[in-house]
């Protein structure tokens, strides 16, 4: 067949797909709504930084040392003092009723032990109902107490250890960089998955797929034609919101734009393959939508987007190898924060390219072979 005609037919298919997506208010919404909601939610609500933790104090020592130590907390923006408790007996109520999320208790022998060169103790009582906040807040407490101790100790003789911390790629350890850095991959996933999972199912439900199948167009052409619009729209959303991440949320962009585009492109192709596969199996739009949902949930959870893959048990870590989102999230972060260029993201591109090849061929085959 004439290759120019072949290409022309692919373009006609892609144009038709574009028009069906952009002319239908519901599909148009998919391109705009979810990305925007995600941008806001992930940018503002999804944070592991803990600020203004309500805390109460019990100071039984009432020495200059204890007051000085406790004043450090009042000065930190991570903490917000709700009050001083009269005695240790009041701690239980304060925590139970969620009036405070942690209580700092300085015992009556605090300063005496310090001066005697013995180890002085500060007790911290945390509300474990939110283990995440508790863990992070405890870290802050450790840092403040540690620093105070070092300052106090440096004026006196004796060996001391000073831990000098340096964090690469994110010196101030802003968790927003971490979350927002993975966001383009996240957005591309949702947009591309919703668009593709419906694309064949909608045509099957409305009967238009048959009308296309009776034309001389072959499966490869349909595949390419169906892949182009979600690819471009996913890429558009991903890049647009990347720009938002950099200019709105102040995430640094240390890598190359080219590498970011490459990661998003190969990733979108892999997701398109999965989406079209789901869509080809579905006979109704409801099934397609539900299928998309069933894919998106685990793909997000097992991508390392919010919680590290390294913390998962071995077998589950193994399962994430087949999750394209895992590579894309890591790839995006590498570009934003680690200064990755195309060669540096190669390790993420390869597995995604393999997945794209497999899923796209499978769904192309299904077009004609899933007949009633």
């Amino acid at each position: 067949m004439n290759p120019r005609l072949w290409l022309r037919q692919v373009l006609a298919l892609a144009l038709k797909e574009f028009l069906t997506i952009l002319k239908d208010p519901k599909s148009r919404f998919v391109v705009i709504g979810p990305p925007l909601v995600q941008f806001i939610v992930f940018g503002y609500a999804a944070t592991f930084d803990v600020t203004h933790v309500d805390y109460a104090i019990v100071d039984e020592d009432r020495s200059p040392e204890s007051r000085d130590l406790l004043s450090r907390f009042a000065g930190s923006e991570n903490f917000s003092l709700v009050g001083e408790l009269g005695s240790v007996n009041a701690i239980a109520t304060s925590i139970d009723t969620q009036e405070s999320r942690l209580v700092i208790h300085v015992g009556s022998d605090f300063s005496a032990r310090l001066h005697a060169g013995r180890t002085a103790e500060v007790q911290v009582i945390l509300d474990g109902r939110s283990s995440n906040v508790a863990g992070i807040a405890l870290g802050y407490v450790q840092a403040i107490v540690g620093e105070w101790g070092r300052e106090w100790g440096s004026a006196r003789p004796g060996p001391s250890i000073e831990v000098v911390e340096r964090a690469w790629f994110n010196p101030s350890l802003t968790s927003r960089w971490f979350i927002v850095g993975g966001l383009p991959a996240q957005i591309a996933l949702v947009v591309v998955m919703l668009l593709t999972s419906l694309s064949v199912a909608r045509e099957r439900e409305q009967g238009t797929f048959d009308q296309t199948l009776v034309t001389p167009i072959d499966s490869l052409q349909i595949l390419i034609g169906k892949a182009i619009p979600p690819l471009l729209l996913g890429l558009f959303d991903g890049l647009l919101l990347s720009a938002g991440a950099v200019h709105w949320f102040g995430v640094p962009m240390t890598g190359t734009l080219f590498a970011l585009t490459a990661v998003l492109t190969v990733y979108s192709l892999a997701v398109i393959g999965i989406g079209l596969f789901v869509s080809s199996l579905a006979t109704t739009m409801q099934q397609g939508l539900l299928g998309a949902f069933i894919v998106i949930m685990p793909a997000v959870l097992l991508s390392g987007f919010t919680t590290p893959i390294e913390n998962m048990p071995e077998w589950l870590q193994l399962a994430t190898v087949a999750n394209p989102a895992r590579y894309a999230v890591a790839g995006c972060r590498a570009v934003f924060l680690e200064g990755a260029d195309l060669t540096a993201v190669g390790r993420y591109l390869l597995p995604m390219a393999i997945m794209a090849t497999l899923t796209l061929s499978a769904s192309g085959w299904l077009f004609r072979h899933r007949s009633r």
Partner: protein, 576 residues
């Protein structure tokens, strides 16, 4: 008075619509103990009227009483006394037949012995008893409609509202549905208000209301209405060798001719004034003889409506194609389709000759759609061979597909794309481009009169335009064979006639047409046809041959529909 449906000067205009009233000052009386038929083209307001009577819509002006009750104010009481069957009946397809019936029995408060007796009677009436445990979604179209009717009748209603109950139902099931309705009217004296697109059904009604554009055109008994065209209906017998559809083609659109149909191999004409309207074609055009015919309701209906409609010009196309090869467009030998254990098509063989209109007929589930889908390359072939336009479907599907045009039963072009965009897409898909694509689109717009609507999204086109667009898209690449799947299902009588005139023109230009239909009177438009039943061939031949095969002394002049019913019953009695 509490009898039946009384509607007085009813009006309703939908918000957000075209602003044209859906109903304007409609007055109707549908008494108990009678069947009142509502007929009219699509969009005439039939469904709206029934919905208002059922209390589902709020009328803007006018007075509506059903059994003496106001459908809005006395809603609860009314809903206990009427039966209503919407056009797309609300069967729960994932429930079995029995579960659907039980649901409606519970909702209607039919209990105890009365329930057992009622359900038994409905089973007898509808012959659904063997299928009680089958999911409603797995029933054939006809059985679904019967089940829908049964659900509406679970509680013996005082009045029954039916909205196009027989759309998409094969002739055998249609006759049964009407038998059930007649029984109810005669035995229980209930009233029935039924809308229908089938004009032969209107003939069975006690009285008929003709609606068009939200207005009542006429109201009376079918025979009274038919009498209005008395003396203006003629039957023309073609000469040996002349095709009735050629005569039909040349007569339709002529001055003074209101309606032309084919009936049992003859041409039926309704004229505006009298015999003189046929004078110009007295001798020629292959007409052997002419006789006066007894007028029917359908003649009057068409005569009346055609004067309200603009005339449709179907351009004459000249034979552009010359035969390539053996003169066989589609050759099928020993075709078999299996879905698991189920054999949908068993060992079917036939030829379709070039340039002919070939019909695939049969009730729902007969295997005609499956056969059709295999020929278009939409379904794989289990066994046997099929050649389309000289290409083996199993080996060179792509080449074969390039030579055929396909129009699906349901409108299946892209609804959000406009007319031009749809045509451009399908044109390119069929390998047209550049200047040729442009010319063909321009030609199609003119030919199908789509020009003024070129920028309208396909989904928003009125029914008739959708049909034209679908056909234009299927013919854009000037295919050798045109496949049409139930092209006239759910289409009103006027659009149906227009459609067949176009098909005629296409066939006259040399394109082969393969069409499935369950309208048996449309079988008369075919040159030859295959009637299928339960996956196998029931009869194959010209309409005349098939009619001839069932002619007896009791049935001196059978129609195709009669032939079908006789053959189907014969086959059923042969198989256990």
């Amino acid at each position: 008075m509490s009898d039946g449906v009384v509607i007085d000067k009813l009006s309703l205009t939908f918000k957000g619509g075209s602003g044209r009233p859906a109903l304007s000052a409609v007055s109707i009386e549908a008494p108990r103990g009678a069947v009142t038929g509502l007929v009219g083209p699509d969009g005439a307001g039939k469904t709206t009227l029934l919905r208002i009577a059922a209390g589902l819509l709020l009328p803007a002006a006018g007075r509506v009483r059903v059994l003496g009750l106001d459908p809005i104010v006395d809603r609860q009481e009314l809903r206990e006394r009427i039966g209503y069957m919407p056009q797309k009946f609300g069967l729960y397809e994932d429930l079995t037949v029995a579960e659907n019936l039980d649901l409606y029995a519970d909702l209607q408060g039919v209990v105890g012995a009365a329930r057992v007796e009622r359900l038994e009677r409905l089973m007898r009436m509808t012959d659904l008893a063997p299928f009680l445990d089958r999911l409603a979604g797995r029933l054939s179209g006809g059985m679904k409609q019967k089940l829908g009717l049964a659900c509406a009748l679970v509680k013996s209603p005082d009045f029954l509202l039916l909205d196009e109950p027989t759309v998409g139902v094969d002739p055998v099931s249609r006759r049964e549905l009407w038998r059930i309705v007649d029984e109810l009217v005669v035995e229980s004296g209930i009233g029935v208000l039924v809308s229908t697109a089938y004009l032969d059904e209107a003939e069975r009604c006690t009285q008929v209301v003709v609606l068009d554009d939200g207005e009542v055109l006429e109201q009376g008994t079918p025979s009274d209405l038919a009498a209005s065209v008395s003396g203006r209906v003629f039957l023309l017998t073609p000469k040996v060798g002349a095709l009735p559809r050629q005569i039909q083609g040349s007569l339709s659109g002529r001055q003074g001719v209101l309606d032309v149909t084919i009936e049992s191999g003859r041409v039926r004409v309704v004229v505006a004034h009298g015999e003189e309207d046929l004078a110009p074609c007295a001798g020629g055009e292959g007409i052997e003889s002419r006789s006066s015919a007894h007028p029917r309701f359908e003649d009057a209906f068409m005569a009346h409506l055609s004067t309200r409609r603009a005339r449709l010009e179907v351009g004459e196309k000249h034979a552009t194609r010359t035969s390539t090869g053996d003169g066989v467009a589609v050759r099928v030998r020993g075709l078999v389709k299996r879905f698991g254990d189920f054999v949908a098509v068993r060992d079917v063989s036939f030829d379709v000759r070039e340039g002919e209109i070939f019909g695939l007929l049969g009730p729902n589930g007969a295997g005609k759609s499956t056969t059709f889908r295999m020929l278009c390359g939409l379904s794989s072939i289990t066994a046997g061979e099929a050649t389309v336009a000289g290409r083996d479907l199993r080996r060179s599907g792509k080449r074969a597909r390039a030579r055929l045009g396909y129009m699906a039963q349901k409108f299946s072009l892209y609804g959000s794309l406009n007319v031009i965009e749809n045509l451009r897409y399908f044109g390119t898909a069929y390998g047209l481009w550049g200047r040729r694509l442009k010319t063909r689109i321009a030609e199609s717009l003119a030919e199908f009169d789509l020009g003024p609507r070129r920028k309208d999204p396909a989904a928003q086109l009125p029914g008739g335009y959708k049909q034209r667009l679908a056909m234009a898209a299927a013919l854009l690449h000037e295919p050798e064979i045109l496949f049409l799947d139930e092209p006239t299902s759910g289409v009103d009588p006027i659009a149906r006639r227009e459609f067949w005139r176009r098909i005629n023109a296409v066939a006259l230009s040399g394109t082969t047409v393969v069409v499935t239909t369950h309208f048996m009177e449309e079988a008369e438009y075919c040159d030859r046809m295959l009637i299928m039943s339960r996956g196998a061939e029931l009869a194959l031949g010209t309409p005349a041959e098939i009619r001839e095969s069932v002619r007896t002394i009791d049935r001196p002049d059978p129609t195709i529909e009669d032939a079908f019913v006789v053959l189907a019953e014969l086959r059923a009695s042969q198989q256990p």
